[in-house]
Symmetry: C2
DNA sequence: CCGTTATACTTTGCCACACAAAGTTCTTTT
DNA sequence: AAAAGAACTTTGTGTGGCAAAGTATAACGG
């Protein structure tokens, strides 16, 4: 079944949240992600590292004034794999809505 | 963010597969689920038990001839929660497709 | 009648993973 | 000098997925 083809790295909820936020915004900083997702910073950092290690996002360390401000964005590869994931999800959704019986 | 409201019990891939198959077919037996999902029987049994323990599916033990044939179907509660899950997923998908920039 | 096969599990063992909480480094602000 | 903020890392703990093997019941084949 096609559901099992869903990328397990992306399928995890927090990471799916990160990926879709980045898809919409293009680029986001640590604080924004943390606030949007409502997770602890340690937890967020770990998920970000998983995504980076798999080449799905890139990290850009910069400064706002003299404060560090790290921003994150999808890599082309991450963008591509997210699209595949979302396409499969859309197809699953459509087939789930189709042909429903009873209740 | 809304992604974190996705029901973790349903979100797991094999269980999502079971639930959507049952939504479409109404009722399925163990062998069909196993074949469709391509998982081991032990693995399938465990996921089915999780779903049953959470009240999302009901189990009906019957016989085909004199062979045991267990069938599974969504409970009303399972049906309701799957709908909520799918609705949230659809909204996430729509918002992800909206407003995409670059690449 | 006895070994094999099928169904539907349960049990065992293992590794990965999610998460919280606390610690760390560097720097800025007061 | 002290406190606070950013972005982590480390540690600890519990849960979870999965494969593989074992189990109970019953049918089938020779």
């Amino acid at each position: 079944m096609e559901i099992l083809d869903l990328d397990p790295i992306i399928h995890e909820r927090v990471r799916l949240g990160i990926m879709t936020l980045l898809l919409q915004a293009g680029e986001l900083d640590f604080q924004t992600l943390k606030r949007e997702l409502g997770v602890t910073d340690g937890n967020l950092a770990q998920h970000l590292r998983v995504l980076e290690e798999h080449g799905l996002i890139r990290v850009h360390k910069a400064f706002a004034g003299r404060r560090p401000r790290t921003t994150y964005a999808l890599t082309p590869e991450g963008h591509r794999r997210l699209q595949v994931y979302l396409d499969r999800l859309a197809r699953i959704l459509k087939s789930a809505r189709r042909k429903r019986g009873s209740i």
